[in-house]
């Protein structure tokens, strides 16, 4: 077993363990921290696979952005320090069944897929330069269209946030 395989299994175990802790922890802040660690170790997997850019983006977006937002919203709720009440048995059964079904379905799909080495394809080096070129490429296999669509989506989200959060001026109140 090579070193990278060992590191992969360590990281994968950590991802799964902290993912499970996220679900099973009854203190909401601890659940958020577990989610953070799980996502950080996913970034570690990306670094292991030499897709550094994706790894850095995983940290910036998920850890630095989304988890911090989640933690802020936890701070703003009441009783964040207390243990959450235990879930009902029926709820536990239902969510357990759904989770197992999802896992089973994914395993089935993965087991059906035939993994074979790509032949005759020159791999693109995943550095920032190539990613940038590919992102704004408008020829075949370029990503400029999804890129612009996402831009419009984010712009709409920004405008929506401003509309919701803006203070009404006194003239419109009258």
């Amino acid at each position: 077993m090579s070193a990278s395989t060992i590191i992969f299994y360590i990281l994968a175990t950590l991802v799964v363990v902290f993912g499970a802790l996220t679900v099973f922890s009854r203190k909401i802040f601890r659940a958020a921290i577990s989610l953070l660690l799980s996502l950080t170790f996913v970034a570690g997997l990306y670094f292991l696979w030499d897709v550094d850019f994706i790894g850095a983006l995983q940290i910036i977006i998920y850890v630095g952005g989304i988890i911090v937002l989640i933690i802020f919203s936890i701070f703003l709720t009441h009783h964040s320090g207390q243990k959450l009440p235990k879930a009902k048995v029926s709820k536990k059964l239902l969510s357990g069944t759904l989770a197992v079904a999802g896992l089973g379905f994914t395993t089935w799909v993965v087991s059906q897929f035939v993994f074979k080495p790509a032949v005759g394809v020159t791999p693109v080096e995943p550095n920032v330069h190539n990613i940038g070129l590919q992102m704004l490429n408008y020829s075949e296999y370029g990503y400029v269209f999804p890129f612009e669509v996402i831009n419009i989506l984010l712009l709409a989200a920004l405008v929506g946030a401003i509309v919701i959060a803006i203070k009404k001026s006194q003239e419109t109140e009258k």
């Binding site: 070193a3 203190k27 802040f29 601890r30 921290i33 953070l36 950080t40 550094d52 850019f53 850095a56 983006l57 940290i59 910036i60 850890v63 630095g64 952005g65 988890i67 911090v68 933690i71 802020f72 701070f75 964040s80 320090g81 550095n127 920032v128 330069h129």
Partner: protein, 380 residues
């Protein structure tokens, strides 16, 4: 500097020496451990100097002597303080979340040390030569807030929680303008690799080559990174007069010591990034003019005259980039200390207003101007 010894030669020589007597995997592990320990120790030595410097700068700027009891002019004061902190009890409040309370300082220390990986200390002297260097540092510094939030929440203390929330709001917002000013230099240099950025400044630092916009980017970066380090005048997270000590109110002993250390490590990393991006990292000063005296000056700065000297003296040239690197590091750190002991603390609304209404629009405009400069090829 063709005839001179390079760091890469020294490293290759050490690698060869180790490989000749050991298995490859053992060599790999030894090199990994030695390199990372060397980087951390170098940073810790910097931190020791920084703490002493901070206390002396603070003292002299406030018309005091500063520490002058332990050793010559108080140079051993820090060691006395460390011994005191090590001997103190690490007290955990009864109603704190004990696990997170203990983990928080360690986590924040890990995060700030992670940011060291892509820093280029000298030519060929870098732990992780990655193509996303500066982006990685930005990503890691956005994680720094987590340790503070954990510490503030798990203390179960309202001052700590308020300090943590303020610090969170502050770090999340100031990251934007720091990131944009980094992007400005990345656009000029055309690479994210720290070594590449430094090499692109061999014919003049970006702060000189990039006209006024690069200078603005430098100022914005210094302001934003001071805020990211939670230092005065942006030390809202600690604000002694309102929040006792902010997020580390409940910490004592070495747990507090780690947070203290952390502040200085962050300062060091931020200054390293600033010197890499704007002041040419380990590159000596270079005048981008075409006069005879400028050429002579540049040759002296690059130690050209040492090429004809005997080989053993040229070992000195190995230290020359390090002298420049650490010189710039401490120059920027001195600026941050100077600001800290001159300006009064901002209020939280002033702080957020400064970022969202002034710095962020300014840095966006600045970035657009720099993009125009790059597209039109107007920079040197």
């Amino acid at each position: 500097m063709i005839s001179m010894i390079q760091f890469s030669d020294v490293l290759a020589w050490i690698h060869q020496l180790l490989s000749s007597c050991m298995a490859p995997w053992l060599v790999f592990i030894i090199e990994l451990v030695v390199a990372s320990v060397a980087a951390v120790v170098a940073l810790l030595v910097c931190v020791i100097i920084m703490v002493y410097m901070e206390r002396k700068v603070a003292g002299h700027m406030q018309l005091r002597h500063g520490p002058n009891r332990v050793g010559w002019h108080g140079v051993c004061q820090l060691f006395a303080d460390i011994i005191k902190l090590l001997l103190k009890e690490c007290f955990t409040p009864t109603r704190a979340d004990k696990l997170l309370f203990v983990v928080a300082p360690v986590l924040s220390l890990c995060v700030s040390l992670l940011a060291l990986a892509p820093i280029s200390w000298g030519p060929g002297l870098v732990l992780w030569n990655t193509n996303i260097g500066v982006l990685f540092v930005t990503a890691i510094s956005s994680m720094g807030v987590i340790g503070i939030l954990m510490a503030g929440w798990s203390s179960n203390n309202k001052y700590a929680l308020m300090g943590a929330m303020r610090s969170g709001a502050q770090i999340v917002s100031y990251e934007l303008s720091a990131g944009l000013s980094i992007v400005a230099i990345v656009a000029l240099a055309g690479t994210l690799n720290t070594g590449g950025i430094i090499e692109s400044q061999a014919n003049g630092w970006w702060i000189l080559k990039g006209h006024l916009p690069a200078f603005f980017a430098f100022i914005i970066y210094i302001i934003a990174s001071t805020a990211e380090c939670n230092r005065a005048p942006f030390d809202l997270a600690e604000a002694e007069s309102e929040l006792t000590a902010g997020y580390h109110t409940e910490y004592s002993g070495m747990q507090f010591g780690i947070f203290y250390l952390n502040e200085y490590i962050n300062m060091g990393v931020v200054s390293m990034v600033a010197s890499t991006l704007f002041l040419g990292g380990w590159q000596p000063f270079y005048l981008p003019f075409d006069f005879a005296w400028a050429h002579t000056f540049n040759d002296i700065m690059a130690l050209k005259f040492m090429e004809t000297w005997p080989a053993w003296i040229s070992w000195v040239s190995l230290a020359w980039p390090l002298v420049w690197f650490f010189g710039k590091l401490f120059l920027i750190i001195f600026f941050m200390m100077w600001f800290r002991w001159t300006f009064p603390r901002l209020r939280i609304d002033q702080l957020l207003k400064l970022e969202w209404k002034y710095l962020l629009p300014l840095s966006i405009v600045n970035l657009v101007i720099i993009a125009l400069l790059v597209v039109l090829g107007l920079h040197f």
